[in-house]
């Protein structure tokens, strides 16, 4: 019903003003062959962009409506709704918006302003993974340099997969111990003191592009405060017997500073990105750790290169997360290393696309491999067939080893 109201409103607005329509309609079906042919998704979706623009101002609304056949749910989201004011030297954007920073592909290092929707892990298009945030963004332009300031009065967290979803991962607990959730402290109150602020200096110049950024933010992912409830004392050894765990997700403040660059050399596009995160909460097995958490800092870095040979595009990235001041109680590894690889080729005068994108975890020897083939049946009508293949027993990708998926999509762009 809500979506119909939004659609009616959109139609009314577009009729009244000189509003440009664009977007796509899409059908998507996905099958999990390892789960006895379970249809993991049968979805019809509409992405609708309405835009009115002049030299000095602009308005944009971006709706996404999806109808999931499997559970008969109709979902709509207002992904973006903002106004722009443009001047010669600067511009301002106010409203719900996506803010995308950094040079890395498929990895979020300095790209931390817009939180992610991980309800379907990393599988949707990145435009659909990123959430809009209500913010005031200002940009000042000096030659080819841009100074940006983003003020976010209301914190928006990562959307995690719901319990019951094939992407949901329950907090680990010892066998026989009950786990209960206490979400009472999860929300961050909408107060001025709880605002987030981000700044960036970026430039695109001859031979090199770069960005330098900093942020005073909330950790988009909640830290899991774990308190133990004991049943009784074991008479044999005198130790307390653990009865249950109460897991309380809470968001904490996080400071980040970093940058990224890209350049070309002998036909290669070289890029790098890195950020230092201060005061992150990590899970710890240290008995002295309050609520099973310790505060620490970490570095997240990426080095990458892309190259084209005979019309085939290749792209590789090495990504490392390094936990500083590490001790053996940390439940995460001190170094977490990953490679991403992309191979892409277009054929038949850019109507047939072959693509392979992979994440490979070097520590857990797990991977997500995503081959796809796309064909433009006519201008604006594209069919895509692909697979999401998970390998490994553990790690970010190996934990979903049973979620291998084949999918087909048909999208009409207007």
């Amino acid at each position: 019903m809500k979506s119909l109201v939004v659609l009616a409103l959109a139609v009314s607005v577009s009729t009244m003003a000189q509003v440009q329509w664009s977007g796509f309609g899409r059908h998507q079906t996905a099958l999990r062959p390892l789960e006895q042919g379970d249809w993991s998704m049968i979805q019809n979706a509409l992405s609708l962009n309405l835009e009115n623009r002049s030299d000095s101002k602009a308005f944009k609304a971006d709706f996404f409506i999806s109808h999931n056949i499997g559970d008969s749910t109709l979902d709509w989201r207002l992904r973006q709704l903002y106004m722009d004011l443009n001047f010669d030297c600067c511009d301002f954007r106010l409203g719900k918006q996506q803010v995308i920073w950094g040079k890395a592909d498929g990895v979020f290092i300095t790209d931390v302003v817009s939180p992610k929707d991980l309800s379907e892990f990393l599988l949707p298009d990145f435009a659909e993974i990123r959430q809009g945030i209500t913010a005031l963004t200002s940009n000042v332009f000096v030659g080819n340099h841009t100074l940006s300031l983003v003020l976010v009065p209301q914190f928006t967290p990562t959307i995690a997969p719901e319990a019951g979803s094939i992407w949901h991962v329950a907090p680990p607990a010892p066998a026989g111990v009950r786990v209960s959730m206490d979400a009472s402290q999860k929300d961050v109150a909408i107060e001025a003191a709880n605002s987030e602020v981000f700044g960036r200096w970026s430039a695109i110049l001859e031979s090199i592009d770069f960005e330098v950024m900093a942020g005073w933010m909330w950790d988009d992912d909640p830290s899991l405060h774990i308190s133990k409830r004991f049943a009784h004392v074991n008479s044999a050894n005198g130790q307390m017997v653990l009865d249950s765990l109460v897991v309380s997700p809470r968001h904490h403040r996080l400071a980040v500073g970093g940058g990224s660059m890209s350049s070309t050399l002998a036909g290669f596009v070289l890029k790098g990105e890195g950020a230092f995160y201060y005061d992150k909460r990590f899970q710890s097995a240290d008995p002295a750790a309050e609520d099973g958490l310790v505060s620490g800092n970490y570095l997240h870095t990426m080095l990458g290169a892309s190259y084209a040979i005979s019309g085939v595009d290749f792209g590789f990235q090495f990504v490392q997360k390094y936990l500083m001041d590490y001790d053996s109680f940390y439940q995460d590894k001190e170094f977490q290393n990953m490679i991403t690889a992309m191979i892409r080729k277009s054929l038949l005068r850019e109507t047939l696309y072959l693509e392979l994108f992979s994440y490979v975890g070097l520590d857990d020897q797990d991977a997500l491999i995503r081959p796809s083939i796309g064909y433009d049946i006519s201008d604006g009508l594209r069919m895509t067939l692909g697979a999401n293949l998970f390998y490994g027993d553990s790690g970010s990708f190996g934990q979903y080893d049973q979620n291998d998926m084949l999918y087909g999509k048909l999208a009409y762009y207007f």
Binding site: I100, K103, A127, E206, T264, Y307, A308, D379, G380
Partner: protein
């Protein structure tokens, strides 16, 4: 300074033109390369991709170009088809020998301006029959040129010049160009593949003098081997409008038209 350079170039061309009977292939191609261009231009480019069955696909682009004689800056906004709408492409091409072009692409789905390599000169532009190299200004010193003959072509007196790349790995073994003697426009160009077989033919179908400058408005590139072609038309062309340098930057790419 730019005016005096332009004047000098025009005088040089006049001198070359008056000496045309004794011109060699190198001088002809130099004259084409130095044909006076506007300081800036904007226009709507339409490409019609026609396959061997006669089926058509249309691509529409609005482009802005500014040339300060050191760097030619170009920005293109893709208007159609719908799945590439709001994509923009920017190229800074430097006259300094050995200096790579700088190129970026903005993909609205990613909301990012990405630097891309300019080495893919042999790649076809938007699935058309034009490679990036065909669309760019190839410096005369990259090839050896020889005058084959002089002949009339489509009512115009032309020099016919054969060009062979100094780079053995170049995508064409040779090209043959019909250059109009007094206008220095390549009216027709044949491209031969690495096996010296006729690969493509470029034909200029329409050109006009605007603000005293010869501009190509309609051309067709035909792939002789695969029997498909691309029709490229430039409409609503405006010259020397005083486009600001700031137009050619990240802000414009993201903001779009």
């Amino acid at each position: 300074m730019l005016v005096s350079k332009t004047l000098f170039a025009m005088l040089a061309l006049t001198a070359i033109s008056s000496a045309s009977p004794s011109m060699n292939g190198q001088q002809v191609i130099e004259a084409v390369y130095k044909r006076v261009q506007p300081k800036d231009q904007q226009g709507d480019l339409t490409m019609l991709l026609i396959n061997s069955r006669g089926e058509e696909r249309k691509r529409e682009i609005r482009q802005f170009i500014k040339d300060d004689e050191q760097t030619e800056k170009k920005i293109m906004f893709f208007l159609s088809p719908a799945d590439v709408r709001n994509t923009s492409f920017m190229n800074w091409s430097h006259t300094q020998q050995g200096k790579e072009d700088d190129q970026w692409i903005y993909l609205p789905a990613l909301k990012k301006v990405k630097r891309i390599s300019s080495e893919g000169k042999s790649d076809y532009f938007m699935g058309s029959d034009f490679t990036y190299d065909d669309l760019g200004d190839r410096r005369p010193d990259e090839d050896n040129h020889s005058l084959l003959r002089e002949e009339m072509y489509q009512g115009e007196a032309c020099y016919v010049v054969e060009s062979k790349s100094k780079d053995k790995g170049y995508l064409y073994s040779r090209t043959v160009t019909w250059v109009i003697k007094d206008k220095w426009i390549g009216l027709k160009k044949e491209f031969y593949d690495e096996n010296n077989k006729h690969l493509k033919t470029l034909r200029v179908m329409d050109y006009k003098q605007l603000d005293g400058l010869w501009m190509i408005l309609h051309s067709e590139m035909e792939n002789m081997q695969k029997k498909h072609k691309t029709v490229m038309k430039l409409e609503d062309l405006k010259l020397n409008q005083g486009i600001k340098d700031s137009q050619f930057g990240e802000r414009t790419m993201i903001k779009g038209l």
